[in-house]
Symmetry: C2
Subunit: 235 residues, 2 copies
């Protein structure tokens, strides 16, 4: 949390438009950071999430939001960026059998690196990312050990880190929470989840499929939190 002073500390928040990143943004605002949101147009199948990111950023009143175009379809290799089907209807045990094909190679490393560059230009040392290692898809770049290592790297990689102007800190306020706990926290902080988008494979009109891993985890989270999901599912 920033020290009490005249102006708030700036922070960069990775904002996908999903439930988790919207909640991470709300936590950064609760902690009185001046938030700069960064989103990525990386050729994802679910580009609808970019509209959601803009809606969430506007509702939160962030200082600035940028969307960085970066076409990861150039090399593909994931169901989200290549001509590969998104798995549907998998239950919890199937989701726990390894890293799924929706894994995008090096995605969070790439996104955090670009966010780090922007942070350095802004004079920000705080980055927020809504990764979660409980109700998640097993992606290696959502785990605490990855985040810790990236934080060390950030302080070696940059002029601001090397010159000791500050220490970069990667905040992961959701990393130990269940999806239900994330949703409950977000509701407390006033997040409007009707603005968010979680589905990996939405219909042409943006309606969530309800059956991909991301929809399944989201629906389970709302059910366990005893709350109703404001989204209307295609299935």
């Amino acid at each position: 949390m920033p020290q009490s002073k005249d102006s708030p500390d700036p922070a960069v928040v990775l904002l996908s438009g999903g439930l988790d990143s919207a909640t991470a943004l709300a936590v950064a605002q609760r902690d009185e950071f001046e938030c700069h949101a960064i989103s990525f147009d990386y050729g994802q199948r679910h580009r609808f999430e970019l509209d959601a990111a803009r809606r969430v950023a506007r509702a939160a009143g962030v200082k600035r939001q940028i969307t960085v175009p970066l076409d990861l379809r150039t090399f593909g290799g994931s169901a989200l960026t290549d001509d590969i089907d998104v798995p549907k209807g998998r239950d919890q045990s199937e989701m726990e059998t390894g890293i799924p094909i929706t894994y995008v190679p090096a995605r969070n490393t790439i996104f955090l690196s670009i966010a780090l560059g922007w942070a350095e230009v802004l004079g920000a040392f705080d980055l927020f990312i809504g990764v979660n290692a409980v109700d998640y898809s097993g992606y290696p770049d959502c785990r605490p050990e990855f985040i810790t290592q990236f934080e060390s790297l950030a302080n070696l990689a940059t002029q601001a880190g090397v010159e000791g102007r500050g220490r970069f800190h990667i905040h992961t306020p959701l990393i130990d929470l269940t999806k239900a706990e994330i949703i409950s926290l977000g509701r407390e902080l006033g997040v409007d989840y009707s603005l968010t988008h979680s589905c990996y494979d939405p219909a042409d009109d943006g309606a969530p499929c309800g059956r991909c891993d991301s929809c399944t985890l989201r629906r389970k989270g709302f059910a366990e939190a005893g709350l109703s999901d404001p989204l209307h599912y295609a299935n």
Copy 2:
């Protein structure tokens, strides 16, 4: 160096079009890797280097070259990506007084991250980058400690690393060489330096200015190697 076997190991080589990366590519080919070259169209002032990257890749006969568009002018903060003058006519002692304004925030972290993603898709565990920590501009992300940390990160960040299919290795064959030694090595390996481009601030026709830090280091390197630089300088 890859083990002797039927098919060569794939490698991803970061290829800017400059003297160093062209030499790093030649080393990767000497070491019998099947080379995939990646270049970045990041809004750099010296976009001429992208033509050079394509020329160098073609002359080397790489397996594939890709140019990834990623506009870092979105947040600027460097003389290479913002409306900031490139320093000219600095001597060695001036160049050694700190990190210059041509530093691009988090650039090598961003480039290596994207290269890592492509490597994972290719099944490659070897990345080559022509960073140099002797005759260089003091950029933090050219130092050995940065590279070592990135290598650790790569093995935590990816499915291929976590599942133990291999260990990522970031090769930096030039890191301890002087610019003269790099040029001598490249000549031995048959690099045609007339194809390369080093200037940060070329004339409209692509002619190198001869006075930015990058031109100064290059010219000094050729002089110390006792070789003539095939480029024609504006000054």
